[in-house]
Amino acid sequence: MFRELGKMVVLFGATFRALPRVLRYRRNLFEQLFEIGNSSLLMACVLSLFIGGVLSLQAGPLLAQRGLGSMLGGLVGASLAKELGPVMMSILIAGRIGSAMAAELGSMRVYQEIDALRTMNINPIEYLVLPRVVAISVALPCLLVFSLLVGCAGGAFVAAFNPEVAVSSAAFFNNLRSTLELRDILHGLIKTFLFAVTVGVVCCNQGLDTLGGPRGIGRSVTKAVVNSIVFILVLDYVITRMLLPLTKASMAGGF
């Protein structure tokens, strides 16, 4: 466990040091970006729509009963921007992209493609890991913005058409605009970016570490996804705890 953590830190360090050379690998980078967008945009859309919807469905009646229905927009927006968006999108990407990264690097390891790169004096970290980690770190925050837009639409839709909530779209978005601040979104973006780097490094590390032939690839993929999710959820608490004082100065103190 700690050895693995150490390996990840080393891999992260090596990737970070290679960062200035990322433009040399722009072909690989664009390939990865395209791949991520292509395979996750639709899923992100569906997922966000329903998360926004279920937030309205859960919170809407409770607020409406107390005559606070007009506050629903801000609640849904803030939840999506600061918590659910970052976590759900990161988990989605871990399952969709991280697993593919682990599988691809794992099979490259098993079928000696990585050894072949090394014999050609091509650094596998620069050639394979760097473009993947950069691509995921760029794409995931973009996906958060997208998810926020779609999620709010889903929330507004349920708010308007569920008879127990019955908050008009106009009221929903008015409240959203007045409550949701730029720094809330920034909070979410910072989180998402850190999750993205984590997912990228965890999954690439797991892929490169694949042992034991083709069966090892399956093990690596499972481990990559599970570890990513664990890291996301643990980091989520830690980062939130650190960012909270910046977002809401009055709430500092306590756990």
Partner: protein
């Protein structure tokens, strides 16, 4: 039997008392080898005897526990050895990058290191592919579309692009039918004749070994049991080698 190339541009490889263990398993237990510049040297031995591990040491993918490897009297781990000598390896499974076309695979070394302009790379790729009897159309295929024999030939072409002084082959004919194995064996001999690179072939394919080798070494028990010409090896009295070289279905 092919004649030993005379004017050799290959390098001499000397392995001295190489030892390597994985955990408690001793794989190489003091290997000594002397490989002459430009020759085709075949390393034979039973499965699991450490042939691949020895090759991986030569190309720098493993570091020895003790002992050393010299290329023309320069230690392999010395600074800048990669600038002085180019070593290429043809992996057992080919090691072709599945995400790239054949042409991109073959040209990868040149394109990644920006050694040549793209048109020049294109030309060199075609030239090397032709050398292993692959046509211009094959350059656009992906590795998954190739047969085992073609993959091996592409891997050989990719190795030759580096203009190596040493080419290492790991089990080049495993997974191939006998006819294709013969053609791959011929490609190895031809590549050796054209490039004059020191060629080390690891195999347990007896036909290949006796067909292409200038000299053969036999690895067993973590050491070199014997080195000699194919004739000398064929008639060697060592019991392990006798069993290995004469095993067939009718006897025993």
């Amino acid at each position: 039997m092919t004649p030993v190339p005379s004017a050799a541009s290959g390098v001499a490889i000397r392995v001295c008392q190489l030892r390597k263990s994985f955990g408690s398993q001793v794989v190489l237990d003091g290997v000594d080898l002397d490989i002459r510049p430009g020759e085709i040297f075949v390393l034979m031995g039973p499965s699991g005897s450490g042939k691949s591990v020895l090759l991986r040491h030569l190309i720098g993918l493993e570091t020895p526990d003790s002992g050393e490897i010299l290329l023309n009297d320069t230690r392999l781990e010395d600074e800048g050895i990669r600038d002085r000598f180019r070593l290429a390896m043809v992996f057992q499974s080919g090691g072709l990058l599945n995400s790239l076309t054949v042409g991109q695979n073959v040209g990868l070394y040149l394109s990644e290191h920006r050694l040549k302009p793209p048109e020049e790379i294109e030309r060199i790729v075609q030239e090397k592919l032709a050398l292993v009897h692959l046509g211009p159309g094959d350059a656009l295929k992906y590795p998954a579309e190739l047969s085992g024999g073609m993959k091996k030939r592409v891997a050989i072409a990719r190795a030759l692009v580096m203009e190596p002084q040493v080419v290492l082959y790991d089990e080049p004919t495993s997974e191939l039918d006998p006819l294709v194995a013969v053609t791959v064996g011929r490609e190895i001999v031809r590549a050796n004749a054209v490039t004059r690179a020191t060629t080390l072939v690891v195999t347990h394919d007896r036909d290949l070994a006796f067909g292409i080798a200038h000299r053969i070494a036999f690895l067993g028990g973590g050491r070199i049991v014997e080195v000699g010409t194919p004739e000398a090896i064929r008639s060697h009295p060592d019991p392990l080698m006798r069993r290995f070289l004469s095993a067939d279905f009718t006897r025993d």
